[in-house]
């Protein structure tokens, strides 16, 4: 339909041009066609939204852009430079604010992106993502090459983000400009523009993840505190090279890459982690071990001081439990069984479950990142270091023997002192016998009293 109408308009304007041939001094399409036939009657111009420009003005469409000029015989002077701003004033004003500058400066010209005779309506063709990217890529070659390999560049549909969706179009600014859409403090909102829009076909959990980010310690640091160094989407997912899914080893959020990705900012703790009982096997290629996100989570990541965080004092046990109570993990690596359960049954565990943040949780004794086997002399749970470890909360730093020889996790039979086990058994017997006696005595008493009442005998 549209194409048809375009053709009709084109025919009409050519006719109109022919009718005013007698008017001297005005350039006519027919004139142009004589020499520039290829361009003036070409398909590109026919498709162009500019095709109708000559309509009703008594002039050729060509002159709408190329201006009026004298034709002497077969030659004419070089026409003046095309000035798109003549019509597109608003766009030009926008350009003037951008890093590229207005059309008449050194930056890219309108035609660099939009083309000349083949200029098209916005969104008129398929493959917009790569088409736009290729225009920008004319100058930004490196970025374009990366973009082409990214999920956005290779997506099966062209609704995905392209250069202008993130950077803006005519008003594009330097990333370092606080007004830029990709300025560190604005960048998450820019991604969210699409990624929080469920109508675009994102899975609800994917949309929820973006929402979670804004409530996370990283998101709040950005949006509330304006902290430039806090992680935004691109720090973990990449920008031009953003990847889809976790499966690709190239993806910086794949399991194998996570410590490296987090370590870009959190170098200190990642180094501790890499020395730990979890980190060493990781370095050897074992991906069963927890990586940063297994304990801290991803988009929901919160400070360990925030109630609800997976690393909040009262949630730590639950977080460790994810692996340490899992038969497959426990069996595969010969981890002492039921360690976390024995903690939960202890005073520390019960109190922690109740909500006490001051009592010891797994990390209080085992450390968070620097977790080491207790046989490791550097381990916080090595007998030699136990006084210091317990001493963090208890006033026992100078106490040695009872602590170095004492057993923790005493709900485990092997750690149990025989007396404690014996006393527990005796108490169970005592309580059962006593309560059985009480209850049977009470039942008998009730029966006896009701019988006597029925019998009518005195008291």
């Amino acid at each position: 339909m549209k194409a048809n109408r375009g053709t009709n308009l084109w025919a009409a304007s050519v006719l109109a041009g022919l009718c005013v041939l007698a008017v001297p001094g005005a350039a006519r399409a027919a004139d142009c066609v004589e020499c520039h036939g290829e361009v003036a009657s070409g398909a590109a111009l026919k498709e162009s939204p500019h095709a109708k420009l000559g309509e009703g003005k008594g002039s050729a469409v060509c002159v709408a852009c190329h201006g009026d000029f004298e034709v002497a015989g077969d030659a004419h002077a070089r026409p003046p430079k095309v000035n798109c701003a003549k019509c597109h004033q608003a766009v030009d004003a926008k350009m003037a604010t951008s890093v590229h500058g207005p059309d008449n400066t050194d930056g890219p010209k309108c035609v660099d992106c939009h083309g000349t005779h083949d200029v098209l309506r916005k969104g008129a063709n398929h493959g917009r993502n790569l088409r736009i990217a290729s225009k920008c890529g004319a100058c930004h070659e490196k970025e374009y090459e990366i973009y082409k390999t990214s999920w956005h560049g290779q997506a099966p549909n062209d609704k995905v983000a392209t250069c202008t969706d993130c950077h803006g179009d005519h008003d594009v600014l330097r990333p370092g400009d606080p007004k830029s859409t990709v300025f560190r403090l604005n960048q998450a909102q820019t991604c969210a523009k699409c990624h929080m829009d469920e109508d675009r076909g994102f899975k609800p959990e994917a949309v929820a993840a973006v929402k979670d980010y804004f409530g996370s310690v990283h998101g709040l640091a950005v949006t509330k505190s304006g902290l430039m160094v806090s992680a935004t989407c691109v720090d973990c997912h990449g920008s031009h090279d953003v990847m889809h899914g976790h499966d690709s080893d190239k993806n910086r959020i794949s399991r194998a890459k996570i410590p490296g990705t987090c370590g870009k900012c959190h170098a200190g703790v990642v180094n501790l982690y890499l020395e730990s009982v979890h980190g060493k096997p990781f370095l050897e290629g074992n991906l069963d071990v927890p990586v940063c996100t297994d304990c801290h989570r991803t988009h929901q990541i919160a400070s360990h001081l925030t109630a609800g965080a997976s690393t909040y004092a009262t949630n730590v046990a639950q977080t460790c439990l994810k692996c340490h109570a899992q038969a497959s993990v426990v069996n595969k690596y010969g981890i002492p069984e039921a360690r976390v359960q024995t903690y939960q049954e202890s005073f520390h565990g019960a109190s922690s479950k109740l909500g006490d943040t001051r009592v010891a949780n797994c990390a209080s004794c085992h450390e968070a990142h620097d977790i080491r086997a207790s046989s490791d002399p550097k381990s916080s749970t090595n007998p030699a270091n136990m006084s210091k470890t317990c001493g963090k909360c208890h006033n026992v730093e100078d106490v040695t023997k009872p602590i170095t020889t004492g057993k923790i996790h005493t709900a485990l039979a092997e750690n149990r002192h025989w007396l404690s086990a014996l006393i527990e058994k005796l108490y169970i017997v005592l309580v059962s016998v006593t309560m059985s006696f009480f209850i049977s005595y009470i039942i008998a008493d009730i029966v006896r009293t009701s019988r006597r009442k029925k019998g009518g005998g005195g008291h």
Partner: protein, 369 residues
């Protein structure tokens, strides 16, 4: 058990009267235990010495006369009954004496039959009066200091339970009032209540050792072997239908003694193990770590034992069982009704009144019918 003999004091300056009393009541020694005093002054002295039930005094005596004996004697023994003996000429004075609290009077001279009838009537009306008084006011079971101690125990025990039990069921109590969110308050309340309980225990110890009332109760509650075991066994037999009547008990039944010493022992254990946990850091300087673990186990199970015993056994016996339901007020008033006294503490009743519980029981039954 027969009635204990009625303790009778006769005061008269005429020896012949005193002799006649002794003569009349000699064959009735089982019923009446007669003492005599030849003057008002010596009568009062005897009254100070012995808790007489009945005082019969001549009205006109040299020195302290009958009215004086009445006035001062009632102060010495408020529970005693006073009666007058008088010659014809002073009947009016005897009637006047009744206004001051004398029960009755007998005119001299009297025959032996008249005297016997007079004294028997006095004895009967005394018992009637006492019974009425007992029915109205009951008996004092616990003194005020003991009630206060019990209430402090209820408060501390309840607080300790409320703030301790959540550790058994942390999932359930998570976020429940102050029990979940801030264990600082929970733990602090537990410790404050514990200090309260320790203070109470200390006070109680001093009370039972040095206070007259406390000491009396201590002596009453110390188990007697084999008497108490027999009583317990009798109770079990009765409850399970193998014996027609409940055995008689003193001020404290065997089960009450058992409970009391259960509380004493339990408190000792809980305080000891509680302190070990409270001061773990210091304990570890002298004792191995397993001691703390043992303390935790003991504290935990002793708590279970105590809480269940109170909730099941104590509550049933003091509030829920037939005859008491829906609740006893003894723990508030300190007084026990005559009926409950006869049922539960027959021996105590007999010891206090000198009357047979069985007889009173029967008599009461007829009276009520």
């Amino acid at each position: 058990m027969a009635h204990a003999a009625l303790k009778l004091l006769v005061i008269d300056d005429e020896p012949i009267i005193l002799e006649s009393y002794l003569k009349v009541f000699e064959p009735l020694r089982a019923e009446f235990e007669v003492s005599t005093a030849p003057s008002g002054e010596s009568g009062l002295a005897a009254l100070r010495e012995t808790a007489f039930d009945l005082v019969i005094t001549d009205l006109k005596m040299p020195g302290l006369d009958g009215l004086g004996v009445l006035e001062q004697g009632r102060k010495i023994r408020p529970q005693a009954d006073f009666a007058m003996m008088t010659g014809y000429a002073s009947v009016d004075s005897a009637v006047g004496a009744m206004k001051f609290g004398a029960t009755d009077f007998i005119e001299k001279p009297f025959t032996q039959e008249e005297l016997l009838r007079f004294v028997r009537t006095l004895a009967t009306s005394r018992i009637t009066r006492l019974r009425k008084q007992e029915e109205e006011a009951g008996f004092l079971r616990f003194s005020r200091p003991m009630l206060v101690q019990h209430i402090v125990l209820i408060i501390t025990f309840t607080l300790l339970t409320i703030t301790g039990v959540p550790l058994f069921f942390p999932e359930t109590f998570k976020g429940v009032f102050f029990l979940g969110d801030s264990s600082l308050i929970r733990g602090l309340t537990h410790r404050i209540a514990a200090v309260g309980l320790m203070g109470l225990s200390l006070y109680h110890m001093l009370y039972i050792l040095w206070n007259e009332d406390g000491n009396r109760n201590l002596r009453a509650i110390i188990p007697s072997i084999p008497g108490d075991l027999k009583e317990a066994w009798g109770n079990i037999l009765f409850t399970f239908g193998a014996r027609p009547e409940r055995p008689k008990a003193g001020k404290y039944t065997f089960f009450e003694k058992f409970e009391y010493f259960g509380v004493v022992w339990g408190t000792f254990i809980m305080v000891l193990t509680g302190l070990v946990m409270w001061f773990t850091d210091s304990i570890l300087r002298i004792l191995p770590l397993w001691v703390v673990d043992v303390a935790k186990v003991v504290h935990r199970y002793e708590a279970v034992l105590a809480i269940l015993t109170i909730a099941i056994w104590h509550m049933y016996n003091v509030h829920l069982k037939a005859g008491v339901f829906p609740g006893s007020r003894v723990w508030l008033t300190g007084r026990i009704s005559r009926e409950d006294m006869l049922h539960e503490h027959a021996l105590e009743f007999e010891a206090l009144t000198g009357r047979s519980a069985d007889a009173e029981h029967g008599g009461h039954g007829e009276g009520a019918a």
